[in-house]
């Protein structure tokens, strides 16, 4: 492989991973934009999604691959979106007027509950599905999408998996942008994000809109979890933490609350990780991502596309 080809290869890997990070980051940024809460449990929600996906795959071995993938892409988002909505309903909604740290701490609690569910879920002797393993060990996710190079004999690999990532994520992001810009619900979301009281006075049911935001954000995490599992073929119960870190960094990097910002941030993080893995050392990748975050926050505290926060006096 020539140097140029290595670069191109890392670019593809970086973009694919970046798109997955961006999907998770969108959930963070939407929720933060509307209730100013770092939904700490978001990464673990993503992890649970992939465990559900693993279970579905185990149950549907008889079905053709195409159907299984479609099934995954519908059921998992429904599950994680619904779960996210439920958590908001049960935990966060009651804390809107509590001290500022209360929802965040509560979210950390939810994240721990999810983590434990993941641990036990993965640990269930799933012999029925032929996937049983010790609790904490990483689980293999069956290869449903082939690893074949779509570019034929070229040294640079652009596999069906990479294609899947782009085919799923790009339309989803376009759809989301359209949804937030054009639909009634989307407009209500933007209104609540800007001024909750005013939105309430205009007759918008704030609790419902917030719930919808959690639903959509969770759904995106569900899609991301399926794509991630299909792309990487390994899942483990602690992966939500790592993914959540990356995604939140991406959201902050792009400017929290901004949808294009989250995508841009996700791509930046994905690329930074890929290039650092290739050109520096895998062990230092997290350090480099973190250094980028701190540098961006020093020079542009509101992120790349974020707007300045002004307190009303």
């Amino acid at each position: 492989m020539s140097g140029w080809e290595v670069f191109l290869q890392q670019l593809i890997i970086g973009l694919s991973n970046g798109m997955i990070i961006a999907l998770i980051a969108l959930g963070y940024t939407m929720v933060y934009g509307i209730v100013e809460l770092i939904n700490f449990a978001h990464g673990d929600l993503f992890m649970l999604g992939s465990f559900l996906a693993l279970t579905i795959v185990g149950l549907c071995t008889a079905l053709p691959v195409f159907v299984v993938v479609l099934l995954l892409l519908t059921l998992t988002p429904l599950f994680s979106g619904g779960l996210n909505w439920l958590v908001d309903r049960l935990a966060y909604r009651h804390l809107r007027h509590s001290i500022r740290l209360a929802p965040l701490v509560s979210a950390i609690g939810v994240s721990f509950v999810f983590l434990n569910v993941g641990l036990l879920w993965g640990g269930v002797p799933m012999d029925v599905f032929g996937l049983g393993k010790a609790a904490a060990a990483p689980k293999d996710f069956p290869v449903l999408v082939s690893n074949d190079n779509l570019l034929g004999d070229a040294t640079v690999q652009f596999t069906a998996k990479d294609a899947l990532v782009f085919v799923v994520t790009i339309p989803l992001m376009i759809g989301l942008t359209w949804f937030v810009k054009r639909t009634r619900t989307g407009k209500a979301m933007r209104a609540v994000a800007q001024d909750q009281t005013a939105a309430e006075l205009m007759g918008i049911n704030v609790d419902r809109v917030v719930g919808q935001t959690f639903l959509i954000g969770g759904g995106l995490a569900g899609v991301a979890s399926v794509v991630f599992a299909l792309y990487n073929n390994t899942i483990y119960f602690q992966m939500g933490y790592r993914a959540g870190m990356d995604a939140f960094t991406a959201a902050v990097l792009g400017g929290i609350g901004s949808l294009p910002g989250a995508v841009l941030g996700g791509l930046c993080i994905g690329l930074a990780r890929a290039f650092s893995d290739q050109y520096i050392a895998t062990g230092w990748t997290n350090v480099i991502v973190f250094t980028i975050l701190v540098l961006v926050l020093v020079f542009r505290p509101a992120g790349i596309l974020g707007s300045k926060h002004r307190e009303k006096v």
Binding site: L295, V298, F299, E311
Partner: protein, 341 residues
Amino acid sequence: MSLLKIDRLTMRFGGLVAVDAVTLDIAPNEIVSLIGPNGAGKTTVFNAVTGVYEPTAGKIIFNGHETRRELTGKTALAFSLVGFITAVVAVILANLETVWEAAVTGNYTYRQPFPWTKALASAQETLTGHWLVPALSGLFVGVTGAWAVWERSRRAPEIAARAGIARTFQNIRLFNQMTVLDNVLLGMDTHLRTRFWDAALRLPLFWRERKHSTGKALETLRFVGLEHEAGQLAENLAYGHQRRLEIARALAMNPKIILLDEPAAGLNPAESKALMDLIQRIRQRGITVLLIEHDMQVVMNISDRVIVLDYGAKIAEGDPATVRANPAVIEAYLGKSDARA
């Protein structure tokens, strides 16, 4: 000579021009009222003067100086220091493993005395040729980073406050869960000299100053008539008393000028009258007063001068009688809310 000079101040929020090239001049020991319909930009002027907002354009000169951090030699020195330290850290981090191996691992034999000078020499040798790039990049990031952070904090409320500008807020912002006394003590915080070690070890200065500052705070409370409430939580005070406590807290800062944002809002006639008296007594202490007020009774009675804002622009200025007769003012302000006039 003017105490506070606002020169063509403009504040823009997105597309909205909240304040449009307003010029004001406040002389020492004046009582000046800033009036105008709701949304005329009065509070925005206060926010710009006190450093809460950064002006889009224009200058605010207080006591002969702009109310922002000056770029002094000391600041420049601090930048270079930060840059130097970042450079050193960058050099260390970039070569940590090799230097450690050469200096420590290479020279230390288990439980034998360590040859420090030799170790230093090996460290130096390893660094040769490997320090320039990290040092330069560290220096660059350190200096520009320090500058960026500093630049963003040039116009901060504490700068204006330390220069001698005190303020109260339209929607009272007391430290609700602290006592009345603590609120006032916070006001005089910049004048206290208790440092970290004094407090941590309770050195004599701590005890002395605690006694002294409590006495002074009580004196300030007496001035506004709240000395009997000193031990109460601020949020348990009656509304009128909360307004007074805000003024007391501002006075405790020992300011040159005090900016009162609607001090009479929500007060009954007797309380407003007492407030007018209080403002007069504040002036007698040699403090200039600039106030935003909707209560025309208060404005007309105590102001030396009245300034009228409408849609962010100054439309009239003068003594109360002149302003009251000004047709533009009547149309913009008094005419619309004749109940108040």
